[in-house]
């Protein structure tokens, strides 16, 4: 039966080839475009998670409602340290994050002062490439200050100048000290540049008399999609007194973007399929009506209508599978050379606003490919049922008698 389906397929070479090409291109479009969109969203999510920072954060339970210095947490204890050393954790860092006022000779502004561990901060999110002038912090008690380019502009200050930072310690006493600006960074979002100023973790802890307590612990794994597999272990180690949250709960905008993307991929795949299905149905209908005689003959010889139906479906399935194979190969073949990124800065100036880079890295996901293939096979067979059913209902006498 397979032989019959196969030979029937190649009866009208041109039609089959055209249809195959259509399926191939359709499948390619599904997968390739999906990879591009995935790449874009991946990038946005990466940037988003980098800015949080971390895929998982540990805070004081009250911190989310009131992110003040009072709601700090102790440095990780033995238990938590052990959990943080597991293989699933790629990097982790602790930071103090407090509201502060920064003043230059000319102006002052409200900012968020971050006391960070420079080495691990870099691993988790801060990009050294973003330093446009000067240098980043060197160690935990570095008392230099790294500020955004935009903020420097607003304060009318520059590298090497001194500024004063003022904040409150846990006892609500004003704490202030002078800092020298040792580095200027540029961020993708101007608002970030104006908001965050970095200095060493211990410098802030001393300034605010908070011993070795911190505001948050940020942790990153290998893949942001797998967070749910490992963060419960961290949560357990952190204990009930602390709140351990994955990125999708910290930033619901980011997670809704991922969900929207999943929906969008499905819609895209189905839209391409619909375009394909017209061609597919048309091909099959033509194939069936061309073969009225022999379908009648097969029935007359004792092939049950259900077997005729199966025969036609088999033919369509063959067509789909070959097209799918070719489409997948083509998609993989076009994505791999683009793995190093496509420069879309020319067309995507506005995109940076949304947190996307100007270099697009297509992301081919096994799940997306499986989805595309399943949709094509499943809906393909479904749409083939109509012409196949018509064929199964031919009246053998009439079919044989037709000249």
């Amino acid at each position: 039966m397979l032989t019959l389906a196969w030979r029937n397929l190649w009866r009208n070479h041109r039609r089959t080839v055209i249809m195959l090409a259509a399926i191939t291109v359709g499948v390619w479009a599904m997968i390739f475009m999906t990879a591009l969109m995935r790449g874009m969203v991946d990038d946005m999510l990466h940037n988003g998670i980098r800015n949080l920072p971390g895929e998982v954060q540990i805070h004081n339970r009250a911190y989310r409602d009131d992110p003040s210095i009072n709601n700090s947490i102790p440095a990780p204890d033995k238990n938590l340290l052990k959990a943080l050393q597991s293989d699933t954790v790629k990097a982790w860092t602790q930071r103090v994050r407090v509201p502060a006022v920064i003043s230059s000779e000319r102006d002052s502004r409200g900012v968020t002062l971050l006391g960070v561990e420079p080495q691990s901060e870099v691993k988790i999110g801060f990009s050294l490439d973003s330093i446009s002038e000067g240098r980043f912090l060197s160690d935990n008690n570095d008392d230099g200050l790294v500020i955004g380019a935009r903020l420097a502009e607003r304060l009318e200050t520059r590298l090497g100048k001194r500024v004063v930072i003022m904040s409150q310690d846990p006892k609500n006493n004003i704490a202030e000290r002078g800092f020298r600006i040792i580095g200027i960074y540029k961020a993708k979002l101007a608002s970030l540049e104006e908001r965050y100023v970095y200095t060493g973790l211990e410098t802030v802890q001393t300034l605010l008399k908070m011993k070795n307590r911190v505001s948050e612990i940020a942790i990153t794994g290998e893949d942001y999609r797998n967070v749910s597999s490992w963060y419960p272990a961290i949560e357990k180690a952190a204990g009930k007194n602390m709140q351990t949250l994955p990125w999708y709960q910290i930033d619901t905008y980011l997670s809704s973007m991922l969900k929207m993307m999943d929906g969008f991929v499905l819609v895209w795949i189905i839209v391409v399929f619909l375009a394909l299905s017209f061609g597919l149905v048309n091909t099959l209908v033509m194939a069936v009506f061309e073969r009225v005689h022999e379908i009648g003959l097969m029935q007359a010889l004792g092939m049950r209508p259900s077997m005729i139906l199966y025969q036609i479906l088999l033919e369509s399935l063959l067509l789909l599978i070959i097209g799918l194979l070719a489409g997948n190969v083509l998609a993989i073949g076009t994505v791999i050379p683009l793995q190093d990124g496509i420069d879309i800065s020319a067309v995507a100036e506005g995109m940076e606003m949304m947190g996307s880079s100007s270099i697009l890295y297509p992301a081919l996901k096994l799940n997306d490919m499986l989805l595309a293939n399943t949709v094509v096979i499943f809906l393909g067979v479904l749409t083939s049922i109509l012409p196949a059913w018509r064929a199964a209902r031919f009246d053998p006498v009439e079919a044989l008698g037709k000249e």
Partner: protein, 235 residues
């Protein structure tokens, strides 16, 4: 045992405003192992009658029994099964599946029946040799002459040793020699395997082989003679 019983078959066709009579009160009883020729001018209803007997077409009224089974009581699937297992067909036209080779065409019925590949191959090889198509097993229908195609169809009809063979003009495209060879084969199968044959034909050479000759005209049976009767009448 009777192979087929037809009772008061009527069939009309509508063509535009015209009503054409296909069969009019046809009743025949064919015994198992009989060798029947249906003859009559073109349009006399031979094909229509064969189609009705094979369950391909339902008469407007009347009954057909094959063995003990009433055809009008069978569903589409059961009719298909009956054709598959009991009847060998040779049609007047469009006999072969164009994408399959001669051998595959012969094997088609056996394949649908689920006969194992090995047995199919040996049987089809043997039967193709018997109908004189040795060496052409792997040709497609388009690479065979009309007569050769007809012989492939005959081979397919008899390869599964059906109880009944319904053949519509099996010799239409054959030369004298081939058609007599084919008829000898039919006679032999009829003789040795007790296969019942019903053959519609214009060909007098074919009619000579008949044990029973039924003449039709305008959808009616006008004469029904055994070979002896024919012979005595001819004398």
């Amino acid at each position: 045992m009777t192979a087929i019983v037809c009772k008061d078959l009527c069939k009309t066709f509508q063509q535009g405003d015209e009503i054409i009579t296909g069969l009019e009160n046809v009743s025949i009883t064919i015994e198992e192992g009989d060798f029947v020729c249906l003859s009559g001018p073109s349009g006399s209803g031979k094909t229509t009658l064969l189609n009705a007997m094979g369950g391909l077409d339902t008469p407007d009224s009347g009954q057909i029994l094959i063995g003990n089974t009433r055809l009008d009581q069978l569903g589409k699937g059961a009719l298909a099964d009956m054709r598959l297992n009991k009847i060998g067909f040779v049609f007047q036209s469009y006999n072969l599946i164009p994408v399959l080779t001669a051998r595959e065409n012969v094997e088609f019925v056996m394949q649908v029946r689920g006969v194992p590949a090995k047995e199919r191959a040996s049987r089809s090889f043997k039967i193709l040799k018997e109908v004189g198509l040795q060496g052409m097993e792997n040709r497609r229908p388009a690479q065979l002459s009309g007569g050769q195609q007809q012989r492939v169809a005959v081979a397919r009809a008899i390869v599964g040793h059906p109880a009944l063979v319904l053949a519509d003009e099996p010799t239409a495209n054959l030369d004298t020699l081939s058609s007599s060879q084919l008829m000898e084969l039919f006679v032999e199968l009829n003789h040795h395997h007790n296969i019942t044959f019903v053959i519609a034909t214009h060909d007098v050479r074919v009619m000579r082989y008949a044990k029973r000759l039924i003449k039709m005209q305008d959808g009616k049976i006008i004469s029904d003679d055994t070979q002896e009767q024919i012979n005595t009448r001819d004398k």
